[in-house]
């Protein structure tokens, strides 16, 4: 290839028409597609959450069959985890990592295209899994919850096969995306950009990618065994044939627990970029935060069975998993201290991304405290499968993952679009969203501890008042996301020009190279690598 041709290629604009998106190998376009897909699915997953809260508005069965209710629970979880948070985090990685480390694109651009386009196919399969059980002769709905435990998942109807293949496709997609991101971070850094000069977001994604590469294949194996048990007469999980249903729980949670960190770490990376910017101070303890993530990575891989305390494990392993789980609070606490020390005596301002970041530090700590309660075996035997657990993991995953993604969107929207978002609307969105979130989930701690079980369509009338509060707040919480959609559309369409460095503090400490580019950045950036001093 002559250098002239290469030169030409690197400077023309994006291709026209639908082909730009279908055949895209451009990291910015693929990032945009990931983010758009995630935002779309947020409303689909949110709709099933609204269904759940509408049913729980009053005791008694209002307008849902119990099986369908449980199908909604399954859908809500699978969509939010696999089709919202993970794609959104992958979208951020696509957009930001090459610009941050001064690479022209991702290391494997065609693989990048494939890993995105698998997602819409998986989403269609997942939605079909809910529709199929309405056809005659297809058996029961997917009433297992996202954990897909046998023997119920072996007995469930055809919808379960759709879910199994959805998990396969999503697994392949996230493995390919992770390989791509890890290779990019390891090999594509600009000269002089050593690992310890990388922005924290890249470190966070390095650990996330490695985690996914380790855990996603195990889930794929587990659901494959499930498929074989359902259709090919094997007995991996069937006690009558010599199998063990608890084995599936181990396989699932070997994936499922580190998955929590897969959801969490990208957002930790995001707020590790935002808090220094708006505190106008370098990040406190850069290396200790990297170390904290490494410890979290390691401990996270060997703590899985704390989801199975009540399954009847012997005292020895139960104690091991309890100790490891409680140990996890040390690196997580360290991260939160890093953030607080960064803010300490900083010249803080509270633009929307910073509001989200500060609220995350506060609300995620709260999830950490309930997490320690749940980690203690004798206490957990009481809390297990109650609404208290629901409150705990929504406090962990909404601030820990989703709000971090919103923060990222507000932080980088000016860079992506070249326009500032409407700060007043952003602040309204923040307060509306966070207050409604707390009103929805905080009461669940109380009626959970009082004995309301999760995943059951009906409940004791004693819990009626607080459930009504939860439901009303949940509707307000759901609607608030339409405002977010409006803000994004408005920003894309126009607004005050942002300039290359929309945030005055963004050049403090260890930051990426994205602020050296124009806003919006050119279609092809850093074709010749910049040199980092």
């Amino acid at each position: 290839m002559s250098t002239d041709v290469a030169h030409e290629e690197h400077h023309h604009g994006p291709p026209k028409g639908i082909g730009r998106w279908l055949f895209s190998t451009n990291h910015k376009d693929i990032g945009t597609m990931y983010l758009t897909f995630a935002l779309t699915m947020l409303f689909v997953g949110g709709a099933s959450a609204m269904y759940i809260r509408a049913e729980l508005f009053m005791p008694g069965i209002q307008f849902m069959e119990p099986d369908f209710y449980n199908n909604m629970v399954t859908n809500h979880a699978l969509i939010m985890v696999f089709a919202v948070v993970m794609p959104a985090a992958a979208g951020l990685a696509n957009w930001m990592i090459p610009m941050m480390i001064g690479a022209p694109d991702m290391a494997l651009p065609r693989l990048n295209n494939l890993s995105f386009w698998l997602l819409p196919a998986a989403a269609v399969m997942l939605i079909l899994s809910t529709i199929v059980p309405f056809m005659p002769g297809t058996g029961t709905a997917v009433n297992t919850g996202w954990t897909l435990y046998p023997p119920l998942s072996i007995q469930a109807g055809m919808g379960m096969d759709f879910v199994i293949f959805t998990v396969h496709i999503l697994g392949v997609s996230s493995i390919l995306a992770s390989i791509n991101i890890v290779v990019t971070i390891l090999n594509m850094r600009a000269p002089g950009m050593t690992l310890f000069k990388m922005p924290m977001f890249c470190w966070a994604w390095l650990f996330t990618g490695l985690l996914l590469i380790i855990i996603a294949p195990v889930l794929a194996g587990g659901v494959t065994m499930l498929l074989f048990d359902r259709h090919f007469g094997t007995s991996f999980f069937d006690a009558a044939g010599g199998g063990d249903p608890v084995l599936f729980q181990h396989l699932f949670w070997f994936f499922g627990h580190p998955e929590v960190y897969v959801l969490l770490l990208p957002s930790i990376g995001v707020i590790a970029m935002i808090i220094p910017t708006f505190s106008r101070k370098p990040l406190f303890g850069y290396k200790s935060l990297v170390g904290g993530m490494a410890v979290l990575f390691t401990l996270g891989l060997v703590a899985w069975a704390h989801h199975q305390y009540t399954v009847g494990m012997a005292a020895g392993p139960t104690t091991w998993f309890m100790i490891i789980t409680i140990l996890i609070s040390i690196p997580v606490g360290l991260m939160l201290l890093n953030f607080m020390m960064t803010m300490w005596r900083g010249a803080m301002t509270f633009e929307t991304p910073m509001l989200f970041a500060v609220s995350i530090v506060l609300m995620f700590s709260f999830a950490g405290v309930t997490g320690i309660m749940l980690a203690v075996v004798p206490a957990d035997l009481e809390y297990h499968d109650s609404m208290f657990v629901v409150a705990h993991f929504h406090y962990a995953l909404i601030p820990g993952a989703l709000l971090g993604l919103f923060a990222a969107a507000f932080y980088w929207l000016p860079k992506w679009t070249g326009n500032m978002y409407d700060e007043r609307l952003g602040k309204i969105f923040f307060w509306w969203n966070v207050i409604a979130f707390n009103l929805t989930f905080f009461p669940q701690h109380f009626y959970g501890l009082a004995g309301m079980p999760r995943r059951i369509v009906d409940y004791n009338p004693a819990f009626a008042d607080l459930n009504m509060l939860s439901s009303i707040a949940a509707f307000a919480y759901g609607i608030s996301h339409l405002l977010f959609l409006y803000i994004v559309i408005k920003t894309v369409k126009g607004g005050v020009k942002a300039g290359n460095k929309p945030w005055e503090g963004a050049q403090v400490g260890t930051t990426g190279l994205e602020w050296d580019l124009s806003s919006p950045p050119p279609f092809h950036s850093y074709a010749t690598p910049p040199v980092v001093k």
């Binding site: 250098t3 290779v183 996603a216 195990v218 007469g233 494990m313 012997a314």
Partner: protein, 204 residues
């Protein structure tokens, strides 16, 4: 070859190598998932950390060499359960017996196929407390093999066992439980859709 081209080439080779390594990890972890099937059982049996109320060792021991503790009594309770997919009668002949550790005993369970077709079923054992599981040795058990019964057939099924004299002193009562299940997979799904026969309903 010009310098930028050379750099691009080595960069691509490096990417290919890293991708290959990561791909191998993926394949390895997929295999690890399946390796968990035998490993899970091995680890549990080897270390005794298995499931509480697990099935016991089922090992065949030579009872003639073990010393009988004539001055010590242990109560064994027998329990019988049926999986929802199996329409059989199933109960122990005796509810409980007192035994000396080290001595061999024989009891029996009775099972009857109440349906109008042949059924192959399997009994899955469980022992509580779980700490006792490794000290409960079965020399003969209907749970070792699958049991086939024709329509309406019923029979006694023997169980021979020895309690290991090393059983911890504080364990005085031991419960042995069996759950019988139909090995035919289709029947599992049937139970959710098929109406139970009238005779079964009346027994409720």
């Amino acid at each position: 070859m010009s310098v930028p081209e050379k750099r691009e080439k080595t960069g691509q080779n490096k990417n290919r190598k890293t991708t290959l390594i990561l791909g191998l990890i993926v394949v390895g972890m997929f295999g690890f998932g399946f390796a968990m099937v035998p490993l899970y059982r091995l680890v549990c049996n080897a270390t005794g950390i298995g499931i509480s109320g697990s099935s016991g060792t089922g090992r065949i021991v030579d009872s003639s060499t073990t010393k009988v503790q004539k001055d010590r009594w242990v109560t064994i309770q027998f329990d019988a359960l049926l999986n929802e997919n199996l329409r059989w009668d199933f109960y122990p002949e005796v509810k409980k017996i007192n035994v000396h550790p080290g001595q061999s005993y024989e009891v029996s369970y009775y099972a009857k196929n109440k349906t109008d077709h042949k059924i192959v079923a399997k009994a899955v054992p469980g022992i509580t407390p779980w700490q006792a599981a490794t000290y409960f040795h079965k020399t003969e058990c209907f749970c070792f093999t699958q049991q086939t019964m024709d329509a309406g057939e019923g029979r006694d099924m023997p169980l021979k066992f020895v309690i290991d004299p090393a059983l911890p002193e504080d364990i005085k009562i031991l419960t042995l439980s069996y759950t019988f299940m139909d090995t035919n997979r289709e029947s599992i799904r049937d139970t959710r859709e098929v109406e139970l026969p009238v005779s079964v309903k009346h027994e409720g």
